[in-house]
Symmetry: C2
Subunit: 149 residues, 2 copies
Amino acid sequence: MSEQASRTLDALRADGRRVTTARRLVVELLARTSEHLSADDLALRIHHAHPEIHLSTVYRTLDSLHEWGHVQHVHQPHGPSFFHLAGAHRHLVCERCGRIRDVPAAEFDALVARSREHYGFELHLAHAALAGRCGNHAQETACTSPTAT
Amino acid sequence: MSEQASRTLDALRADGRRVTTARRLVVELLARTSEHLSADDLALRIHHAHPEIHLSTVYRTLDSLHEWGHVQHVHQPHGPSFFHLAGAHRHLVCERCGRIRDVPAAEFDALVARSREHYGFELHLAHAALAGRCGNHAQETACTSPTAT
DNA sequence: TTCGATGCAAATAGTTTGCATTCTA
DNA sequence: TAGAATGCAAACTATTTGCATCGAA
């Protein structure tokens, strides 16, 4: 098991949460992969060895882990949300091919500061992927209005 | 009818599209309001005077108007998408109260330019609202991991 | 009069919930 | 062994689709 996984599970125990098979499997899987997995993806992979773990349990597990600050839940404009262990990067998702690119959170520091100063609005860019076109699809007609940037 | 509405409908005619009751009502409603209305919201309001206009027609109408560049379709991290006539602002949505704040697209110019230069990624910030906390709810625990900005 | 648009019903994707049962601490 | 977590089924929200009919050009 990765160090990140055992650290997360230890934190659960330390906080008096129960470490169940489902939680252990979800945390290990998230720690092991760099992919952007949906609840359904996670359930499918877990089912190979543990067919008894139900999709709704995966959802509840992710909900709890998110609530306790161990997991980030990222919304996409199209398709299901994906999940990953708490980290410091943000996501760019291509409207055309769906590929997700990780970029350091620091890229957005100036914007976050300006939003706070100008609008009193605290941006949480981890909460939703930013949509657009990756290099391969930037030329094609945008999936937005002509006047849109 | 507002000038913006008739301009949009004229553009449809000029492009050889049919101007139907549903399309006229959707365009007029979008032109008249500054609210952020979902397909369901639009259908409900249209139903007062035109109960025969079906929700699926509203969806198809919005789809078409979007495809032809007259309407923007904005995704939210929670809840339904909302729609508005093509314009140049972006949206900040509060994770707590759901209130949506319009901000000028120019606020994001620097970020859009940097994304293009550093990552070859063409951001379409009109396509999805940016999540965070409005002034009234900025203090409360974030709906994201502790390490998240 | 033609073909695009609509009404309606049914299907779909993603997610949530109620409740009896199981299992961790 | 108490109460948290789970399995399963069913509900739910937002959205899409198939198909017969209608109506704008």
